[in-house]
């Protein structure tokens, strides 16, 4: 039987590869990603199920999904230029992906089906750090976190619970790790951008609150507080928190092995273990 072995939450700032090079191995970016990577490597996953919000690079508004799943043998990315990462191909697990697609439909989560698509920095930046050899196949689940109206937090949490049940119903022996990609407060090129850069962190207080609730395992409070108004105040990509919330729906109340805020940013790094 398939089993979930760990869950990871990380941001995907396109500048991270450049920052890691300039900060060096003991700088915050490398150190925080190393902490996450060590949790993942310790559980030897066969596949990584990724909750991600497309930044209008995988999909466009000609056909914009609230929830989508990629069902394909391999995926090209990044298809955007902002991270400077090499463009490459990542293996997927098409059989598991199709199982999750069907399982979602059967449990009331009507994923859009994507079979020919590319992924952007929001998946490739995390992979660059947590599976640098790209040797763990991924299955991407997309949640609209950038173009309101966004799905409700409770709906995303329930989606995660349904995906967990579907994974655990997969008859093959498979060690499944989960990765949620995104920030809690970030406005990229929107009106809350700050001088001197192309982004802003309009709700550092909210980001800190999320980190506090994650650490304490107060997920009910987090679901109550993650309203569409709160997300809007926190920036134009702050809906990426919905990826984390879907992941939390799989955790059955587990406390994190660690959760750490990235100083100066509206995001954090975290890991949960099943053992």
């Amino acid at each position: 039987m398939a089993e979930i072995v760990c869950a990871l939450g990380v941001p995907h700032t396109p500048a991270f590869p450049r920052m890691a090079r300039s900060e060096g191995p003991e700088g915050p970016v490398e150190r925080l990603f190393r902490a996450v990577r060590e949790q993942l490597e310790a559980v030897q996953p066969d596949v990584l199920v990724v909750y991600d919000s497309d930044h209008v690079n995988t999909f466009f508004f000609n056909n914009w999904p609230t929830f989508a799943i990629g069902v394909t043998p391999q995926i090209y990315g990044p298809n955007d230029d902002n991270s400077g990462l090499p463009k490459t191909v990542v293996a997927s697990n098409e059989d598991l992906a199709h199982h999750l697609y069907a399982g979602g439909i059967h449990s009331g989560f009507d994923f859009a089906l994507a079979q020919k698509f590319e992924i952007d920095h929001s998946i490739m930046v995390p992979l660059h750090f947590v599976t640098p050899k790209l040797n763990v196949p991924i299955v991407p689940l997309f949640i609209n976190g950038v173009a309101p109206p966004l799905p409700a937090a409770k709906r995303c949490f329930a989606l995660g619970s349904a995906v967990r049940s579907t994974i655990e119903g997969w008859p093959q022996d498979l060690r499944v790790a989960i990765l949620a990609s995104g920030s809690f407060s970030l406005d990229v090129a929107g009106p809350m951008m700050e001088p001197g850069g192309n982004s802003g962190t309009p709700a550092m207080d909210w980001s800190n609150r999320v980190v506090e609730l994650l650490g304490a395992g107060k997920i009910t409070d987090l679901l109550e507080e993650t309203t569409s108004d709160q997300i809007a105040r926190a920036g134009n990509v702050a809906g990426e928190i919905l990826n984390w919330i879907a992941m939390l729906g799989m955790l059955d109340g587990r406390k994190p092995a660690f959760v750490e805020k990235h100083d100066g940013f509206g995001h954090a790094f975290a890991a949960w273990r099943w053992d």
């Binding site: 466009f60 929107g190 009106p191 951008m193 001088p195």
Partner: protein
């Protein structure tokens, strides 16, 4: 108003390099091939990002104008324009 076409222009700037090159080489000539109103073409050519934002264009996508310096959009001018537009609409804005 065709916010869809403004968003599409920004999307294609990333994913259609020949289109991006055409926009850089001949901004007004390329715009007339798109499904935009005269007001929208004017706003783009005048780098009036704040107006595009107020019309409802996706702000993450508008950022591509700044990244590729389309129509001569530079970060400082982009910021000033979008901040002023947000303030004029009574919405939160960053900046000084």
């Amino acid at each position: 108003m065709s916010v869809y076409a403004i968003n599409e222009l920004c999307y294609r700037a990333v994913h259609d390099p020949p289109f991006r090159e055409a926009l850089l080489a001949d901004p007004s000539g390329t715009l007339v091939t798109l499904d935009l109103t005269a007001d929208e073409r004017k706003a783009l050519l005048e780098r009036n990002v704040g107006q595009l934002y107020l019309w409802g264009a996706n702000t993450f996508l508008l950022g591509h104008l700044m990244r590729y310096k389309l129509f001569g959009v530079e970060r400082e001018q982009y910021s000033q324009s979008i901040w002023a537009a947000a303030r004029s609409a009574g919405r939160p804005a960053g900046g000084p």
